[in-house]
C-alpha cells in the first residue's frame, strides 16, 4: 500500500499544453502513471503524448473519471485552476505552480473546508508512490518501492535524501513534497495521519526547513500519538534572520522559526535528526536493521 497516489490514480494535467505540463506529462506516462486527461482552456480536442485535452476539468472528469489533478499553470492562473479542480470533484489536487499570494491560499483554505478534496502544494514537486504512480516533477529513477514514508518542504533536497536512502538499500512507500510556501494545503501532520494508517509504511522521514512552526507543531503531534519511528532533517542552520531563503515560507522572522528550535523540538519528540542529508539515511539504516 501507499498513501494518496497509487495504481488507481487517474490523473488530469491542468496546463498540459504548456512547456512544463507537456514535458512532465511525458515523464509521468513513462513512469507508469495513468494520465487520462489534460486541460487547457481553448485547446480542447487536441492530444498531448496521446492524452486527450479538454477545455474544462469538469468535462475531463466526466469523460475520463479522473480522480486527481496536477496543476502546471503560471501563478496568475493557478488560483483559478485550483478552484476549477475542486469544483470538478477530484479528490486530490497537486499544485506544482509557484508564486501564489499567501492571501489567495487563505481563501482557498476557506473554500476547501466543506469539500471532500485535499490540496498538496503549491510550490511543490508533487508526490510519488514508487512503482505505482508519480504525480509531479520528481525524478522517478531515484525512488524504489519500500517502507519509508518521506514528507518534505523542498524539492531537490528531498531527492538528495531519498537518493541516499535508496543507495542504503531501502525503499519508499510514498514521498510527498508538501511545498515551500508559508500557507500550504497539506502539512506534515496531515501526511503523518495518513502514514499512521498505512501498514506498508514502517518509518517516516520529515525534511523541514527554517520558517514558521510547522515542525514544532508536528513534534507535539508525534509525542502525543504517532507510534512509528520518525527521522528528520532541518535545512537552514546557517541562514540569517529576516531573509527569505528562496522559498516564500523559508524565513526566520526575528528570532522565531530557526533551525535550532526546530531541531530541539524534533529531538524532544525522539525524532532522530541527521546533521547532514547522508546521515539521515545512515540513521534509518542503523535503526531499522
Amino acid at each position: 500500500m501507499s498513501i494518496l497516489v497509487n495504481k488507481d490514480t487517474k490523473l488530469v494535467v491542468q496546463g498540459i499544453t504548456g512547456r512544463d505540463g507537456s514535458f512532465h506529462t511525458e515523464q509521468m506516462l513513462k513512469y507508469g502513471t495513468r494520465v487520462v486527461a489534460g486541460v487547457t482552456p481553448g485547446k480542447g480536442g487536441v492530444s498531448v503524448h496521446g492524452v486527450p485535452v479538454f477545455n474544462t476539468v469538469e468535462e475531463a472528469v466526466a469523460e475520463t473519471q479522473a480522480n486527481t489533478s496536477v496543476i502546471f499553470v503560471p501563478a496568475k492562473f493557478a488560483v483559478g485552476a485550483v478552484y476549477e479542480a475542486i469544483d470538478a470533484g477530484v479528490k486530490l489536487v497537486v499544485c506544482i505552480s509557484e508564486g501564489i499570494p499567501a492571501l489567495e491560499m487563505v481563501k482557498i483554505t476557506g473554500y476547501l473546508k466543506d469539500k471532500n478534496c485535499r490540496l498538496i502544494g503549491p510550490n511543490c514537486p508533487g508526490l510519488i508512490s514508487p512503482g505505482e504512480a508519480k504525480v509531479g516533477i520528481l525524478p522517478g529513477h531515484i525512488f524504489k518501492p519500500g517502507n519509508i514514508g518521506v514528507i518534505s518542504r523542498s524539492g531537490t533536497l528531498t531527492y538528495e535524501i531519498v537518493d541516499n536512502i535508496t543507495r542504503a538499500g531501502l525503499g519508499q512507500s510514498t514521498c510527498i513534497g508538501i511545498g515551500g510556501d508559508s500557507i500550504i494545503g497539506t502539512k506534515f501532520i496531515d501526511c503523518l495521519e495518513l502514514f499512521a494508517q498505512d501498514p506498508q509504511t514502517e518509518a517516516v522521514v520529515l525534511v523541514g526547513e527554517i520558517g514558521g512552526r510547522d515542525e514544532q507543531d508536528t513534534a507535539e503531534y508525534i509525542k502525543r500519538e504517532f507510534k512509528k519511528p520518525v527521522f528528520g532533517f532541518i535545512a537552514g542552520k546557517t541562514a540569517p534572520a529576516d531573509k527569505r531563503m528562496g522559498h516564500a515560507g523559508a524565513i526566520i522572522s526575528g528570532t522565531s522559526g530557526t533551525a535550532a528550535e526546530k531541531i530541539k523540538a524534533f529531538e524532544s519528540a525522539d525524532i532522530k535528526v541527521g546533521e547532514t542529508p547522508a546521515e539521515v539515511a545512515r540513521l534509518i539504516k542503523e535503526t531499522l536493521s
Binding site: D20, A75, A102, T109, R213, T255
Partner: protein, 378 residues
C-alpha cells in the same frame, strides 16, 4: 518586501489610520525647516529597515534648535546594523498616556489572517509570544467574509476599557485589516499604538512587509522599493530571476533548489568552512542562468572557491556544465571550482567538463570537504 516607516505611514494616512504630523527629510536644511514647521521639541527618527533603531541612537528628541542641528547631523549618515541612514523622519512629539501593540499577520498554522494585540507597546511580539503568550490577544478574520465588526470591537475592548477609545481602536483595526488585504501585506504593525493625553489614538510607529508573491498585482507598492537599502547582488539576482542571499564566508555556493541550497551552506559550515552565499539557480536551468549566477557570485570579493552542488532532476547537468564552460571563458574565473553534478545527463556533463580544470566530487559531502581543502591552498 519591506518598506520604510515613513512609507508605511503614508499608506496608513491613505487608509485613515491616524499618524503624527511628520516630514521626511534628506538633508540638514530640510530637517531644520521641518522642525520649525512642526514645532520644537520634535522627534528625529532614522529611516532604516532594521529593528532596534532607538537603542542604536537613531531616534532622538530635539528640544532646542541647536539640538535639531546636532541630532540631525548625527543621525543622517550614521550606520545602524550596517545600513547607512539616508533619510530621517521629523515628527511631532506625542504626549503618551499608554502604549499598546496592534499587528496583523497571516497565521501559518491556522491558515488565517489574525489580528494580534498586546497591552504593552514597543515590544518585539515574537519575544512576547514565546515568553508570555497569554499577553497576546488573537482575533481571527474569516477567510471569505473578512474581519467582522464585532471581532474588531473585541480587539478594541481587549486593549482599552473606555468604550469610546475601544471603538476608535476597533475602527483602526478594521482599517489596518483593509490595508493588509488590499495590498497583499504579510505583516502590518502599529507598534506602539499610542493613546495620547487628550484621549486620541495615534500610530507612533509603522511597519508593513509585503508578500513577494503578491507584488505582481501591486506595481504602486513595487515602486516604493528602496533599492539603495538592498544588497546590490541581491537586487541583480532578482532581476535575473535567481534567489541569492549574501553571507560573510568565502566559499561561493551554486545550487539548484532552495532546500538543497540551504543544506549545502549548512554542510560547508558543518565541515568547518564558511559559506559566502545562498544561491538557488532554480529548476530548469539554462546555461545562461548558470552564467548569470556566476557573474553575481563573483561580484562578492570574498569568494575564493566556488562549489557547484547540482542534483539533476528537471535541471540537466549538461546545461549546467555548458554554463560553467561559457562562464569560464567569458568571465575569466580565477577561483577554483569544485563541482558535484549528479542526476539527469551527468555523463554528458562530465564529457563537457573533462578538460575544464575543475575539481570533481561524487557526493555533496565530498564536494564540501574538497572546497574547504582547496581553500587552504589558495
Amino acid at each position: 518586501m519591506k518598506i520604510h516607516e515613513y512609507q508605511a505611514k503614508e499608506l496608513f494616512k491613505k487608509y485613515g489610520i491616524p499618524v503624527p504630523e511628520e516630514r521626511i527629510c534628506h538633508n540638514l536644511s530640510e530637517i531644520q525647516a521641518a522642525a520649525s514647521e512642526i514645532g520644537i521639541p520634535c522627534v528625529i527618527k532614522a529611516q532604516v529597515m532594521v529593528g532596534g533603531r532607538g537603542k542604536a541612537g537613531g531616534i532622538k528628541i530635539a528640544k532646542t534648535e541647536d539640538e535639531v542641528k546636532e541630532y540631525g547631523e548625527m543621525i543622517l549618515g550614521m550606520k545602524i546594523k550596517g545600513l547607512e541612514v539616508k533619510k530621517v523622519l521629523v515628527s511631532e512629539v506625542v504626549a503618551i498616556e499608554t502604549e499598546a501593540y496592534l499587528g496583523i499577520v497571516v497565521d501559518r498554522t491556522h491558515k488565517k489572517v489574525v489580528v494580534m494585540s498586546c497591552k504593552e507597546g514597543g515590544v518585539e511580539i515574537e519575544e512576547v509570544a514565546r515568553q508570555n503568550p497569554e499577553a497576546i490577544n488573537k482575533v481571527y478574520a474569516d477567510p471569505v467574509f473578512g474581519l467582522f465588526p464585532h471581532r474588531a470591537r473585541k480587539v478594541g475592548l481587549f486593549l482599552y476599557s473606555e468604550p469610546k477609545v475601544a471603538f476608535a481602536c476597533a475602527s483602526i483595526a478594521e482599517k489596518l485589516y483593509k490595508l493588509f488585504i488590499e495590498l497583499d501585506a504579510s505583516l502590518a504593525e502599529i507598534n506602539p499604538l499610542v493613546l495620547d493625553k487628550s484621549g486620541n489614538l495615534i500610530a507612533l510607529d509603522a511597519k508593513i512587509n509585503f508578500d513577494d508573491n503578491g507584488l505582481y498585482r501591486h506595481p504602486d507598492i513595487e515602486a516604493m522599493r528602496d533599492r539603495f537599502s538592498e544588497d546590490e547582488n541581491e537586487l541583480l539576482a532578482r532581476e535575473k530571476d535567481l534567489s541569492y542571499v549574501r553571507l560573510s564566508g568565502n566559499i561561493g555556493c551554486v545550487v539548484n533548489g532552495a532546500g538543497l541550497a540551504m543544506a549545502t551552506m549548512d554542510l560547508v559550515k558543518h565541515y568547518g568552512g564558511e559559506p559566502a552565499n545562498f544561491l538557488d539557480i532554480g529548476g530548469s536551468s539554462s546555461p545562461q542562468k548558470v552564467m548569470n549566477a556566476l557573474e553575481i557570485l563573483l561580484k562578492d570579493e570574498n569568494v575564493r572557491v566556488i562549489f557547484f552542488n547540482i542534483f539533476g532532476g528537471i535541471t540537466r547537468c549538461d546545461d549546467v556544465a555548458n554554463g560553467i564552460l561559457a562562464a569560464k571563458e567569458k568571465l575569466d574565473i580565477k577561483q577554483p571550482i569544485v563541482a558535484r553534478l549528479t542526476g539527469t545527463n551527468e555523463d554528458k556533463a562530465m564529457d563537457i567538463l573533462k578538460e575544464a580544470g575543475l575539481i570533481f566530487a561524487s557526493s555533496m559531502d565530498e564536494g564540501a570537504k574538497k572546497a574547504i581543502e582547496v581553500l587552504k591552498g589558495v
